[in-house]
Amino acid sequence: MTKKIEIRCIKCPLGCLAEIAIHDENNVLDVANTQCKDGKGYVIAEFKSPVRVLTATVLTKSGSSKLLPVKTNRPIHKTRLLDCMDFISKVRVGPPIRMGQVIVSNILNLGADLVSTDELKN
């Protein structure tokens, strides 16, 4: 069965609304309405695996600030962002923490570590 879905390209301010023709759920047959190669590549990647870097904050038990900003060191599938937030809301950290330090390794088995994006001093 062939069906068509639309994906907005974010490669440039043009923001083409690309139309992807798919066969058997995941075989891309054709990409229409993009105006460049970059856009076509982005749209196919976004269709196959829409991934995002998740950024958040975790509560600190003590230290120089109430919250420590964190991010996943790899993009994760966008459908798992809220699951990760649930997990992150239960995490507590204490000083000292340096920038880039792993806070949660392999979060929810998604293949990405949650790392600190700032330092936490005593």
């Binding site: 043009l14 900003p69 937030m85």
Partner: protein
Amino acid sequence: MISKDIDVAVIGSGPAGLAAAINAKEAGAENVTILERAEQPGGLLHQCVHNGYGLTYFNEDLTGPEYARRFIEKAMDLRVDIELESMVIDLSPDKELVCSSKYGLKKLQPRAIVLAMGCRERTRQQILIPGFNPSGIMTAGTAQRYVTCEGYIPGKEVVILGSGDVGMIMARRLTLEGVKVKAVVEILPYIGGLIRNEVQCLGDFNIPVYLSHTVTNIHGQQRIEGVSVSKVNKNFEPIEGTEFRIDCDLLLTSVGLIPENELSLKAGVKIDPVTGGPIVNENMESNVSGIFAGGNVVHVNDLVDNVSLESQISGTRAAEYALGKTLPSVRRINLKAGENIRYVVPQTIDVGKDVTIYMRVREPREKVRLGIGSIYSENLRVVKPSEMLKAKITLEQLREIKGEVSEIEVSCVKRG
């Protein structure tokens, strides 16, 4: 006593101030001091915990705190003196600064000054929404500070007025934190911020967007209980009979940013009525000799990377000024905003120095030609007010400007 041993004083330690101070040092200024009113350097970047910073400057995708840290560390390595909890409260045309600090009032008279105070959000009071004034109405940036720095979630159900980048970023942040984002309401027929935020902040979470709509009433007396939303016509006037209500306990406004220039005005710096920031030349110097400016205090940028790049120029030129090494001007050319150009920065350039100019268009258009007099032409697939345009003009191109010309026009019109 007035301290006079500072070469370059930078007001503000956000991305603009840090970049300016670093470059001032690198250009040979010995005593470079940043005056910062907050308890830590970095400015707004600390509350911007999301990624998307540094893509052009570092060719890396960084979060706000990571981007800030790189500049803070470099400034510290270069021994830039960063004075925290030091708020500049007065500035005179002869560059005398009054600064309120932990140790009391201080007076400084640096050889050169870089204004790097950034910008402020336009508030509800400035856009005149009718209705009561209950609690639960704040700017998107205030909510951002609550959520990402203070650990406080300011509501359970939110409506966001305006689709600027901060508003969209907060729509995503609040959704991730478990808040229901009921609507983003935008008076223009298109989204105000960057396309990637439209897709990744609104689209990813199916947040309802009402374009050509605005908030026409606020309900609730103690705490906000809801807003009325109406469709608007071409003149942005609410259309009668289109009003509907959305219940909420929080209204965020993301309705524009205004350069913060109270100090600049005290020093006699001339302000461009369109940008809201100082009128500057190719050195990022204002009309007041020795007072330079960089970043959002000059004009509101959409990318921090551009703030850093532009402020580096102010830092370098301020250092040269302080050291008496400023190159003499060859011939001044004014840049005039022509068709579909809202503003141009810098407003004046010199034919003796290559320069990068930044422009914003008035309205979105496709297949256009960006033209700067007869010396520069570039075809662009699309332009939008939310995406700043940038053009590098070389010395060779500047040499083409004929001797009698004192002004050239910048325009962005349809090709054909």
